[in-house]
Amino acid sequence: MSGGLVTVSYIGAIILFVMTLGGLSHQETSRKGNLYGMIGMTIAVLATVFGPEVTTNIHLIVIAMLIGGSIGFTLAKKVEMTQMPELVAILHSLVGLAAVLVGYVNFMDESISFPTDIEKVIHEVEIYIGVLIGAVTFSGSVIAFGKLSGMIGGSPLLLPARHWFNLGLLILSIWVGYEFVHQAEAGNAMMYLMIMTGIALLFGIHMVMAIGGADMPVVISMLNSYSGWAAAGIGFTLENTALIITGALVGSSGAILSYIMCKGMNRSFFNVILGGFGATEQSTNTSSKEQKPVKSGNAEDAAFLMKNASSVIIVPGYGMAVAQAQHALREMVDTLKKNDIKVTYAIHPVAGRMPGHMNVLLAEANVPYDEVFELEEINNDFANADVAFVIGANDVTNPVAKTDPQSPIYGMPVLDVEKCKSVLFVKRSLSPGYAGIDNDLFYKENTLMLFADAKKMTENITKNL
């Protein structure tokens, strides 16, 4: 295959990738979008393999792809839907690692020659940046994976001078970069590249460690964006347009996604990245706790309330994911629907541990997606609904966000659950949510707490309906 044909194939692949992203914007076109992506990737890979730049070792390619492909396929088949965030995080780390490897290989490859010095410098800088982003993506994703799978605690690790620390790392890496370019001419810049990789890894670890569990969705999508930038950076070094374009597509789409999510939480993007949700110096509101009464009930009470309702809104949260209660929930909803009760689902943009987490889980339980509504779409309906069934959500329903400017979540749009005639709260205890603040909703007169595991409680309610 000639160079021209390869380029044409790349163009085709790129168009398909753009169509993939476009297709994924809407439910109707999403499956087709995924298919475009697969075709595009196949074309790009085949064009490269049969192109002029790959001359030997094709058998190695086949072996590597067979092994990797089957591992990936098994992972995708086996993973529980609730573990989706972890899987995505660990997959991101692979892209980061690949970027680092490709960058290193490119640097060590001595067969590349440059017509001018300036091109060589640019080339070095490109390698440097590509490896840097790749390394940050890699270590950040690994930590994110650890946090999501519970291997590392979810609370943010806040070093006393963390902003200075970050700034120090940045300045250090710029200086190392400068040295790297200089030494590259002498041919012993390897050490600097490695030092920088170390710094970048450290930076990635520190960055994700400092981010609280509630911000995890943003981090995942940010890392997604990074993996794209890493690919684009490597594309520059290899002067490969397909890589640059695809990388930039992924990078910018990830960045936009993070931005949309930050907007959903009413938080500044930089605030999230630089760490510290709970870091807004947990002030006054914990001290003045009056011992407030809580009405708690059992499955029978809940079933009674719902049976007599004419409309029920379900508010799922991370607790539902943990308890794997989505199927039980749907059974409950089916029973409710048989009794002619209108049931809808309300999903907060940051419910769960990754964007759209709840939608995926509900979809897994065969909940039709046109019964599932977003915050803005459904928030006015709470006032007219009889029962709000909050299952495993907490902070996203906390009315404090509307009332108390002192609160760390002040200004975040929340679901107006308290406007319902009655609120059923399935929760294991009265403990605060990820934001670390108490939820006033627990103590409201129209709230009935159902202290139990979400799945068991839902099953029991269904029995009593």
């Binding site: 993939t20 992203l21 476009g22 914007s25 809407h26 439910q27 499956r31 979008g33 995924n34 992506g37 070792n57 390619i61 590597a64 792809m65 092994i67 990797g68 990936g72 995708a76 088949k77 839907m81 989706m84 995505v88 997959l91 892209v95 690949a98 490709v102 290193y104 290989v105 060590m108 490859d109 001018t116 300036i118 640019i122 993996s227 890493a230 690919a231 490597i234 594309g235 290899l238 374009i245 695809t246 990388g247 930039a248 597509l249 992924v250 910018s252 789409s253 990830g254 936009i256 996604l257 999510m261 011992q291 407030k292 009464p293 990754m354 759209g356 939608n359 979809a363 997606y369 400017p405």
Partner: protein, 518 residues
């Protein structure tokens, strides 16, 4: 300790201080319970039912009072008609009496009880703090009274509450005005609303507007600013100007509505006169007024306490003061539960030993006599049941965020990035700039394409972009043709891990998308 529940002797009183269901809980607290024979009969709890729940049935009134450590009653002690002896004299030293007492109105009774050297807890004096809501018998009785008020009204009202269009003609819905949106008022609103009436409500405390609206009534507003919230969640007396404006509103409403339910009370004072003779005479024939404040003198000038009267223009005025007693089963059950909650708090060890802990704000408030010492009135409660409207501190306006970014601040990043790009363009070779153009344009395409993504697709989108970012495999593919073994090995690893990502990413996206269905 032994709990005794005597027969209520007040004329017409049908309630009883405990129910078989409550007794089971009291036994779990370690108490034994004795009930006077026939105590629950009027509330439809038979002696047999009490016996089955483990209570002892005692026929003799005197021996019941004598043998008990704690006496649970509904009404305050009064002259016993059969024994011809005041119930106070049945009490002996060391006993505890828990019932409604109304210490403010019954000073002589308090004196008399204090002389007996006993403990007395008044259920009407439980403070209105959040924690004590479960033992707040006034609220539970008020709730019943409000409900019953609507039922009584409908009994005397000649029409439907709900509007209907039938083959025999159109029926307009009844219009109900509820004055005073306390517990009773809210219960009345709820009951009237569920019968289908159009309900309006008025209260001097503006913060109850939301509660009124939540029960389905319209909140009537005055063109007048004054907050009527008094201490402890109750109302206070208003200024003359306010009352004038209020009366004007009622005069206007009286002509329009069919039913008026008044629940306005100010603690320790006679009920305010809100519905004048003139207003009543302006009402339609067949209208009904239910005056829940009848016992405290009535909100309506024409109310006859404890009775029903019909005015010359056909308006029925109901002044029953025993509305809770008219739903005896329900009110006994709620009152019994209130008592049970109080006793639960007073029996921390669950060993049947009652402790009067004066540090406990709820118990402190209820205790009017301790060991012969009058401890009434208690210090004022610290917290209101409904949080008082914060008057002092308006929410600080966060100026920092609301300030619009200046033109300079908006354009500064653009200017800086333009400068950087020009700087880059001046040194970089053209091949780089070509790539750079492609890069920037792709960023914009990504931006445009992703901007309208449906929130529910965020996860699949992320996993698909993740798979797409494995395009980096191209880099590794090109490098594997190198002659250096180390480089080949590294490229091999690169291909391997990106392959994981490609197949894993696309497969998992496919799996997820398959689940989404309409």
């Amino acid at each position: 300790m032994k709990i005794g529940v005597p027969n209520e002797v007040h004329t017409g009183e049908k309630r009883v201080a405990t129910t078989p269901e409550v007794i089971k809980f009291l036994q779990k607290l370690g108490y034994t319970v004795a009930v006077e024979s026939g105590a629950g009969a009027k509330a439809n709890f038979s002696d047999e039912a009490y016996r089955q729940s483990g209570a002892e049935i005692i026929n003799n009134t005197k021996s019941l009072w004598e043998s008990s450590n704690i006496i649970l009653k509904v009404r305050a002690p009064e002259q016993h008609p059969d024994l011809n002896i005041n119930e106070c004299d049945l009490l002996k030293e060391g006993q505890t009496l828990i019932s409604f007492i109304w210490p403010a109105q019954n000073e002589s009774l308090i004196q008399k009880l204090a002389e007996k050297n006993i403990n007395v807890l008044a259920m009407d004096s439980i403070p209105r703090i959040s924690r004590a809501q479960k033992m707040d018998a006034l609220s539970s009785m008020a709730n019943i009274a409000g409900y019953r008020a609507v039922i009584e009204a409908s009994h005397h009202f000649g029409r439907f509450f709900t509007g209907q269009i039938t083959a025999a003609g159109k029926v307009p819905p009844a219009k109900v005005l509820v004055i005073g949106a306390g517990v009773a008022g809210l219960a009345a609103i709820g009951a009237a609303n569920s019968l289908g009436a159009i309900v309006r409500s008025f209260d001097t405390r503006p913060e109850v507007k939301e509660q009124v609206e939540s029960m389905g009534a319209d909140f009537l507003l005055l063109d007048f600013e004054e907050d009527g919230s008094g201490e402890g969640g109750y109302a206070k007396t208003m200024s003359d100007e306010f009352i004038a404006a209020e009366m004007a509103l009622f005069t206007e409403q009286a002509k329009d509505v069919d039913i008026i339910i008044t629940t306005a009370l100010i603690p320790g004072k006679p009920a305010p006169k809100l519905i004048t003779k003139d207003m009543v005479s302006s009402m339609k024939d067949g209208s009904v007024i239910v005056d829940l404040a009848a016992e405290q003198g009535g909100n309506c000038e024409l109310t006859l306490p404890h009775d029903v009267n019909v005015t010359d223009n056909g308006v029925t005025i109901i002044g029953y003061s025993d509305l809770p007693s008219r739903l005896p089963t329900q009110s006994s059950q709620l009152y019994g539960t209130n008592l049970r909650h109080l006793l639960t708090d007073m029996t921390p060890e669950k060993d049947g030993q009652m402790i009067i802990d004066m540090e406990d704000e709820a118990v402190r408030g209820a205790t009017v006599i301790k060991e012969g010492q009058i401890t009434w009135p208690p210090p004022p409660p610290k917290l209101s049941a409904t949080p008082a409207v914060k008057q002092t501190e308006p929410v600080p306006v966060i100026t920092k965020e609301s300030k619009k970014p200046t033109l300079l601040r908006q354009s500064l990043p653009l200017i800086i990035s333009a400068l950087i790009l020009y700087g880059l363009g001046s040194v970089a070779p053209s091949s780089f700039m070509t790539h750079f153009t492609v890069f920037v344009l792709s960023c914009f395409i990504g931006y445009m394409v992703i901007w309208n993504v449906t929130a529910s697709l965020h996860t699949p989108l992320m996993s698909v972009t993740n798979a797409v970012s494995s395009i980096i495999i191209i880099g590794a593919l090109i490098q594997i043709s190198s002659s250096d073994t180390l480089l080949v090995a590294l490229a091999f690893i690169g291909i391997l891990i990106t392959s994981i990502n490609i197949s894993g990413g696309f497969a998992v996206t496919r799996r997820m998308l398959k689940m989404f269905r309409r």
